[in-house]
Symmetry: C2
Subunit: 337 residues, 2 copies
């Protein structure tokens, strides 16, 4: 990249510019086989051949308190989920805080308390941490980094290279609730019913699925950049074609309505309690049943299928057309996580 | 803590207020045996009994480029050193970036390149990362979190509870260079000779010492809060009394001179290439020789000893007096790492 270029908000979108920044800056200068894979978690192997999964994420969400969670609960669940979709049993977290001078200690306590509760419920231990403080105006209230450590699930055999033509694409429930919840809060929008973030830890469900269904090929959580960006990434990195049906993608009426009013495509909005799962066609029905049983009230669905027609993601629209799904080209909603 | 209290810069000093914030907020809400220990690194045990050390640190140093390093090299060495002083062989790092909108991509490349070089020289792999972007004015150029993963050195038997009366206290070289280098750069001060930060990875030296000297009881790197704060922490947490001699603490003439002019006590200034080592008195001389041999040009020294006169750190001044060394009570130099 040239000398005169600067970081734009879209470099943090999780979409196209993020992808290029990683490739053109980080991969260029930091040579590592694991970095090159661009997975949600890296796998390392100990001297006695334990496979250990590691994932890191910094959370800069604004607002820090939102319907359905706060930056603390999100920082626990976001990293727990990254370990889980990669086939790891989440065990430990580190937590590192960058606080802005003047930030309320009462709010910090609320956030720390949420982290404690969420970690306890998730069965993960927060084992070490760090706190830095920057001058007023040099940060924004609170940023949290969590790094997760998990043991590889013995039945987890996941990888993009395992994806085959004919495989089914599943999502575990309604999309775009997190994005709409944050946007509404930020803009002070009032809808007739309040939309809550879907932020939650998913590993209990994911571990059950991995233990029972060897037909699961690959999973990823559609956070920044949304479902469309994740499908496009999987298509590009696996070389396979992924096609979904617009009318099969579960979305709440109120979320769809809010997206209409805001002029935002819900397929590009972040989710914090969702996973995309690709599996053999013979197991998709029982996997859907298992998810529905485990996550009461959710609306899991087979939303599409895999073919070998090249590295692109497609959507069959409800009007019979076909649209290509690109990675999010710009930033529509900064600081969503 | 009360509802009306807010975060002050001193909460990030590594001194007394940091200590209280951890105790009164994080330990209160995040219950974990490992968090309670307040060590530089946590130890976890895998299913096959591998002992794994984990350490996390967020770097917010200002300026991001300074004589002797930059925020990227510091982020690698700082975490590598935390693993090493805890008895771990550093193996892997994660790297997570919070970038301010408008930050120069050229500068980002310089930082990423330093991280790549420093990691390669240190023999550690950067395995996964994350990038977030915040709006202009909501961050400050670049913050970096690194989390380190290491295997416990088989010969490392370190712990505060192993410290005994009669033990010697060693430092591996000149103190306060990092603090003075940052401060001079920040304030635009010119001294007759430029003082460079001592920031460097120490684990090669530390691993050799651990392999050879079973008399080593405990190590810690005196970063934020400096040598005085670390000695005070060790005294408080071990229940032992630590006494050092002012005239035995190695300090460069130009660093001491700069501290005099600035009116700052060098014992409270941060170091980024130093360790405090406590060992049996019979091995201190050979340990000093080994450090001198391994770190050409350094000035390692036995600076004091341990007694069982209670949980305090003391300094015998060069004028024959005795001064108690408290933890850094306030912030003298924010964003030093």
């Amino acid at each position: 990249m040239g000398n005169d270029q600067v970081i734009r908000l879209a470099h943090g979108s999780g979409g196209l510019l993020s992808y290029r920044l990683i490739r053109d800056v980080f991969q260029k200068h930091i040579h590592s086989k694991e970095i090159a894979k661009m997975d949600d978690a890296a796998t390392i192997v100990s001297d006695t051949n334990d496979e250990i999964l590691i994932s890191t994420d910094s959370f800069v969400i604004d607002p820090i308190f939102f319907p359905g969670g706060n930056i603390g609960s999100l920082a626990v669940c976001g990293t727990v989920n990254d370990i889980a979709v990669s086939g790891g049993i989440p065990k430990y977290l580190t937590a590192s805080f960058i606080l802005e001078e003047g930030f309320s200690i009462h709010d910090l306590e609320r956030i720390a308390s949420s982290m404690g509760t969420e970690a306890r419920d998730a069965g993960v231990q927060i084992i070490t941490g760090d706190t830095k403080v920057v001058e007023k105006g040099k940060g924004d209230k609170i940023f949290i980094n969590t790094t997760g450590i998990g043991w590889k699930h013995p039945e987890a055999h996941l990888g993009m290279d395992l994806i085959q033509p004919g495989d089914h694409i599943i999502i575990n429930g309604y999309i775009a609730d997190h994005g709409v919840a944050i946007l509404s809060q930020r803009e002070g929008l009032k809808f007739s019913s309040q939309i809550h973030s879907d932020a939650r830890c998913l590993h209990h469900t994911i571990m059950k699925l991995i233990a029972s269904y060897p037909g699961i090929r690959f999973m990823r959580d559609p956070t920044r950049g949304g479902v469309a960006t994740v499908l496009s990434e999987i298509a590009q990195d696996s070389g396979k074609s992924l096609t979904i049906y617009e009318e099969k993608v579960p979305i709440r009426t109120e979320t769809a309505g809010a997206c209409d009013i805001l002029g935002i495509d819900p397929l590009y909005l972040a989710n914090e309690g969702k996973f995309i799962l690709i599996c053999s066609p013979g197991q998709s029905k029982t996997i859907i049943d298992a998810i529905r049983h485990d996550q009461i009230g959710s609306e899991p669905a087979v939303i599409g299928y895999v073919t070998d027609e090249g590295p692109h993601a497609w959507m069959k629209t409800r009007y019979g057309g076909t649209r290509i799904l690109e990675m999010l080209p710009d930033e529509i909603l900064p600081r969503i996580c």
